[in-house]
């Protein structure tokens, strides 16, 4: 079997990212939509870590690190909002959120 190169990691990252995209587009349930965004972030993290590793540069890892931090805060705030919304409307379905209609 051949050696694992950077391209492998990048392609894996792409595949995961696309899976995330599918989720983002497909999901109507807000909570599950959050899951999809987590996938997106993780996919990017892999790419960062891989590049960091293959070029011997710490910057990539740093970014991955910050992304994880951001993901954590996003979940905190996002879930908070979700709870609030659920309490107001009793639904967390995206299709019911149309107050931003132009």
């Amino acid at each position: 079997m051949m050696e694992i190169t950077l391209q492998h990691y990048l392609i894996l990252s792409t595949v995961l990212f696309v899976i995330g995209l599918i989720g983002v587009m497909r999901r109507k349930n807000l909570l599950l939509l959050f899951f999809a965004t987590e996938i997106l972030l993780n996919a990017v993290n892999i790419a960062f870590a891989a590049i960091s590793s293959y070029y011997g540069d710490m910057t990539g890892q740093m970014f991955a690190f910050f992304i994880i931090a951001i993901a954590a805060s996003e979940v905190a705030v996002g879930l908070g909002l979700l709870v609030l919304w659920y309490k107001r409307t009793g639904k967390i379905d995206l299709d019911t959120m149309t107050s931003m209609k132009g």
Partner: protein
């Protein structure tokens, strides 16, 4: 002499402004008297200048101030009194003084009395500027000035639709010619570097003939408009809507002769281009005949005289075109006197007949209006060219000129026209003053005009009689100092006498025929009147209708169309562009349906597009793209 020059020039405008002060108030006799007095002063000053010039004085040349100066162009307000302009000045001031005095009586009951004198004196001023200017642009000032005054005076009775229409027609037709005149001036400027007469004329012999021809033609087109030559002639007959003194002054004696004056003034130019001169002469002869035929059958007293004027202008152009400038100017002068007299007489008749213009509704006025009858008959005799009145000396001279210059066709045409002239003139006199009384049945009781009006006409009557006899020699001596001195003599004495007597007999025969036909009871010959020729002449060759149908109407319709085009195409295009944006907004408005899911999908599409762009740039980083991007400042 400068003082006299300025007096002659500016006295009329002072009079005009004085009368204008009263312009909106009630009739004030002083508004008529002061301009008349000032015109008399102007006449005296002109006389003084004439005597000075006659006495062999140098021409008076002054520059008042700069008008325009830019680049190489330098236009001053320069005035010149030489032999030619002093002749014109005398003609203008004489006739206009007479007409002013006459108008005090004529406009007596008009509520626009004061306004009338303001316009009339302003006209005289413009005319003086026209004849005294020492450059083409100064001439153009006067040229346009008389145009405006003519507009104001033709449309003087502005409540009448026909009057205002005629005023606009006159102005616009003159404008068409003025454009050509302007182009002529441009040509003169760019080719000779100056628009001063003497500099420009001095530079002309060195120029190419084609340029000179263009210059000559354009300037002549300008002259055609003002002198109402075919095909720009229709306005003159319509201009008779104005008060009769106006017709006498503007549309007979002075303004319409400005075209002749221009050709005379530009004689160094036209001498260089004899072909154009021949064209001018031919057109003149054509107009002489053409206008005379229209006068034959017309039923409007003033129009008949107007056509007669047109015809005589044709004579003048024949002379001017053939290089006999002094003859043209001489006929201009003589014609001014007797034609003004004729018009003023017609004015008397109109007053007496309560503005009736149809001579077929008059008749037998000689009993009640003896002096008018005498004056008009005198003027008509002079017009017909019977010895020893003014017309004989000037008009016969033109016939001789054409004969001597071997233009026999022109000669024949002019000779025939002379007969026609005699016929229609006396047809008019006979219809008005002789025959049976046809006006009492209409409840009109004619009376003679005020005495002072008749006295005012007297100088013109005297001049119409003696101008030819007395003035010819001194005039010739004087004018030929600046104009080409060509004596026109038929060398063969027998021929000369045959021609002269023959012409006289022909003319007298025409007069007798006119009297015979119209001096008794008038029989209307239905058969003749329904004939094609009569209809053609009566309707002025259908030219006014033709203009109305094909020019006026077309222009109006075209304008309407243009407006529609402006709204429906040009503006609609602009609005269309706006609508594209608006429509795009409306169409993409759907995107913003507020559904987060849809938005997410759009977001993904956006991401994909951006990615595609990135990919495209990644793979397309060839030299060209890089260059383009760097040019745009993107990299």
């Amino acid at each position: 002499m400068e003082l006299y020059l300025y007096t002659a020039l500016f006295a009329p405008i002072v009079g005009s402004l004085f009368a204008a002060l009263f312009g909106m108030s009630k009739k004030n006799i002083i508004a008529g008297l002061v301009p008349s007095a000032l015109l008399f002063v102007s006449w005296l000053a002109s006389l003084k200048l004439l005597i000075y010039i006659l006495g062999g004085g140098e021409e008076v040349h002054v520059e008042l101030m700069t008008w325009m100066a830019t680049g190489d162009l330098y236009v001053p307000y320069g005035f010149i009194v030489d032999q030619v302009s002093v002749t014109m000045m005398m003609v203008v001031t004489t006739v206009s003084t007479v007409v002013h005095v006459y108008s005090i009586g004529y406009m007596d009951h008009d509520k626009g009395f004061n306004r009338f004198f303001a316009w009339l004196s302003a006209f005289v001023f413009s005319m003086m500027v026209l004849v005294m200017s020492d450059n083409f642009l100064g001439l153009f000032i006067g040229w346009e000035g008389v145009g405006v005054c003519s507009w104001g005076l033709i449309g003087f009775w502005y409540h009448k639709e026909t009057a205002t229409w005629a005023a606009n027609e006159a102005f616009i037709m003159n404008r068409i010619a003025d454009l050509a005149m302007l182009i002529g001036i441009f040509l003169v400027y760019w080719n000779t570097g100056s628009i001063q007469y003497h500099e420009a004329f001095a530079a002309m012999p060195a120029l190419d003939t084609s340029v000179l021809t263009a210059m000559g033609i354009f300037l002549f087109i300008g002259a055609m408009g003002k002198s109402a030559q075919f095909p720009l002639h229709t306005w003159l007959a319509d201009a008779m809507e104005g008060p009769t003194p106006v017709s006498a002054l503007i549309h007979a004696a002075t303004m319409v002769t400005a075209g002749v004056y221009l050709v005379v003034r530009a004689n160094p130019l036209y001498d260089l281009i004899p072909d154009v001169g021949l064209f001018i002469a031919s057109l003149g002869a054509f107009v002489a005949m053409f206008a005379a035929t229209m006068a034959l059958v017309n039923r409007d007293m003033k129009r008949i005289i107007a056509y007669s004027t047109l015809s005589q202008l044709g004579y003048m152009f024949v002379a001017a075109g053939l290089g006999a400038y002094w003859v043209a100017l001489f006929h201009l002068m003589a014609h001014a006197f007797f034609k003004a007299l004729l018009f003023l007489g017609a004015g008397n008749v109109m007053h007496a007949m309560h503005d009736e213009l149809d001579p077929f509704k008059m008749g037998d006025l000689k009993t009640s209006m003896k002096w008018t009858w005498i004056f008009m008959t005198l003027a008509s005799v002079a017009l017909a060219g019977i010895y020893p009145l003014a017309g004989f000396f000037s008009k016969d001279l033109i016939l001789e000129v054409s004969f001597v210059e071997h233009h026999y066709i022109l000669y024949t045409v002019l000779l025939l026209t002379a007969g026609l002239t005699a016929f229609y003139s006396f047809r008019l006199v006979a219809l008005i003053f002789h025959g049976d009384d046809r006006h009492t049945e209409n409840g009109v009781h004619p009376h003679e005009a005020y005495n002072f009006m008749l006295y005012a006409m007297l100088p013109l009557a005297i001049l119409a009689v003696v101008a030819g006899m007395i003035f010819k020699t001194p005039y010739y001596e004087m004018v030929t100092q600046v104009l080409p001195a060509v004596e026109y003599h038929i060398h063969n004495h027998t021929t000369f006498w045959i021609m002269t007597i023959g012409t006289q007999l022909f003319v007298i025969a025409s007069i007798v025929y006119a009297y015979k036909k119209y001096a008794k009871a008038v029989k209307v010959d239905k058969k003749v009147e329904s004939g094609l020729l009569y209809q053609l002449l009566y309707n002025q060759y259908f030219i006014p209708q033709f203009y109305e149908e094909y020019f006026t109407k077309t222009y109006r319709e075209l304008s309407e169309m243009m407006w529609k085009l402006d709204m429906k195409v040009v503006d609609a295009t602009v609005d269309g562009v706006a609508n594209v944006f608006h429509g795009t907004g409306k169409a993409t408005h759907e995107m913003q349906n507020g559904n987060l899911s849809t938005m997410l999908r759009w977001m993904v599409i956006g991401t994909v597009v951006l990615l595609a762009l990135a990919a495209a740039f990644t793979f397309g980083q060839s030299e060209g793209v890089v260059k383009m991007l760097s040019g745009l400042g993107a990299i």
